[in-house]
Symmetry: C2
Subunit: 327 residues, 2 copies
């Protein structure tokens, strides 16, 4: 197996991806790890590179401010587009990047291309749940105006991914909606409900936003606009509450003392919301493995993402998708 890693994307690049790669390469001798980026910086970031790590040099990167589609077209030699091109040309099985989501989606669509039969690929992050298992959300923002058939395909892809990579034999699919009763929702969700109910998936019906994080479904589908709002709102509310906690806990001597006693408990809660443990978001529906790691991925988050990428490559997910779509 071969993994193409954009070593220059993300807040902690190249140090975090390089260190994680070295750790994983020592563990998985059956896998070749291809680090793409500025070679001198990559070598400087790392220590001794195992034999199954290869560095491919480029000094071009896509910056956060770049308009994604234009950047992907104009910078074929950027670390991100080179990783995608390797997947396209079967020089790698899966690519990973912690760079801009927009640019990753554009690379997936333009450099790798869509899987036959898939109208709209979808970004599929795992959201943290209160039971610690996580829930796969599609689409988190790849397509802004989706139709009901797109949502059905999101569900099919989400189930295949959950089975093969998340080890959930019978994933329960829910449709994000404004009420649990059938017939609720906007034109899109009403139509999608019908399609999902007639499918062979284990469709458990509508789910309200209030219950998404309870962990009662394994796969939740919605259009990319709504999914992006959900993803960012959870992040905003979580960060805000923990910010207030921190502020309050250091506001007086008594609360500081109390905070010391509670440190392990509070860390336990924060860890449940630690994106690092939930891995990268696959961009499902493109013709090859394409994973988006969190922008502020630590070495730990990169290790989880690299292990996930190996599993993605090992399970022939692309073949699985083609099979699911025939149902």
């Amino acid at each position: 197996m071969k993994l193409a890693i954009d070593a220059m994307g993300g807040d902690l690049a190249p140090v975090a991806p390089v260190h994680a790669t070295i750790e994983c390469a020592a563990k998985f001798s059956d896998t070749e790890f291809i680090l793409i980026g500025h070679e001198a910086k990559i070598r400087e970031a790392g220590g001794t590179f195992p034999a199954n790590v290869r560095v491919v040099h480029t000094d071009v990167t896509i910056e956060t401010g770049d308009e994604p589609v234009r950047a992907v077209r104009r910078k074929p030699n950027s670390s991100l587009v080179m990783a995608a091109t390797m997947v396209k040309e079967s020089a790698a099985d899966v690519m990973l990047s912690a760079g801009s989501t927009g640019a990753l989606v554009a690379s997936g669509l333009l450099a790798i291309g869509r899987l036959q039969g898939i109208d709209r690929p979808a970004l599929a992050p795992v959201l943290p749940t209160f039971n610690g298992k996580g829930v796969l959300l599609l689409d988190a923002g790849a397509t802004m105006d989706a139709n009901a058939h797109n949502l059905l395909q999101y569900a099919q892809m989400g189930c295949a991914y959950s089975r093969q990579v998340r080890d959930i034999p019978n994933p329960r699919v829910a449709l994000l909606n404004v009420g649990t009763e059938p017939g609720k929702g906007n034109a899109l969700t009403k139509e999608a409900f019908q399609l999902l109910e007639s499918s062979s998936l284990d469709f458990v019906g509508n789910i309200e936003a209030r219950e998404v994080l309870d962990g009662d479904a394994d796969v939740v589908v919605c259009d990319g606009f709504v999914g992006n709002v959900v993803l960012k709102l959870i992040e905003g509310v979580g960060l805000g509450i923990f910010g207030l906690l921190k502020e309050q806990l250091t506001s007086s001597f008594t609360s500081k003392l109390g905070a010391v006693m509670l440190k392990p408990s509070l860390r336990g809660i924060r860890d449940k919301f630690d994106y690092a443990e939930y891995g990268a978001a696959p961009f499902l529906g493109v013709n090859g493995g394409c994973l988006k790691a969190h922008g502020s991925s630590s070495k730990r988050a990169w290790v989880v993402a690299l292990e996930q990428a190996r599993k993605f490559a090992a399970q022939d997910l692309i073949g699985q998708f083609s099979h699911e779509l025939k149902d």
Copy 2:
């Protein structure tokens, strides 16, 4: 001024609305408080009723499971529909209910009717923000498939309400979107952006879900599907985190001791998220005052909602809306 109160709606009815009414009636002698519901139960719930409290008896109520539109049509003598009819017939200036949102929306549309020039009325709750000021969100779920013009009207109504009832002289309006740059979003938000930018409102541009609770805008507009998801997700994430906190804080002797020391701090945080202090959600765009109190409204929440209803009645908001819509 006359307020029509559905005394039977909500988890704590009739006790909470009756107690709050008695408290407010003693404070505001210029206002008549009309409690609508089962007279014996209302009298039993209260103590001595001030002279400006009137009880209107009915033993019909709309239940949580009732299909809203059908219930409103078939139960004209329910406490909710009687309250709405009083507003329609100018027997009351504003109505309040803590009953089902769907039934309140249906009563507003069917019994009160739309304000001339408004295509789609909108539910406008105040979301808690981390700076404690709150942000008005429209539409929180009255209309599922809105168009760009509807969103512009939401902004206009939200500004008028913020000025008159929330004492914000120059409300800043933002459009909920997936990115801050102009040109981001789905077809609806792209078109709405143009309309808002050409309007005379203080439009501050797109806002991402992550920033909604930071308090940088006073009015945030989105379609009712998205708004409902936002409202419920904030509730779900907040409740979930506080639930985990409670669980962790009572998990060991040390953490229990720490929790006692932190009690005031933690209560301070929880209070920032206390819907009771943010009042009821007005259903804006119907031809009269129509307020939805939170389903689990306590006496305190009812007091805040009743004071808000008085202000709504005193400020001629309906006249203000007509004025705003001419801009």
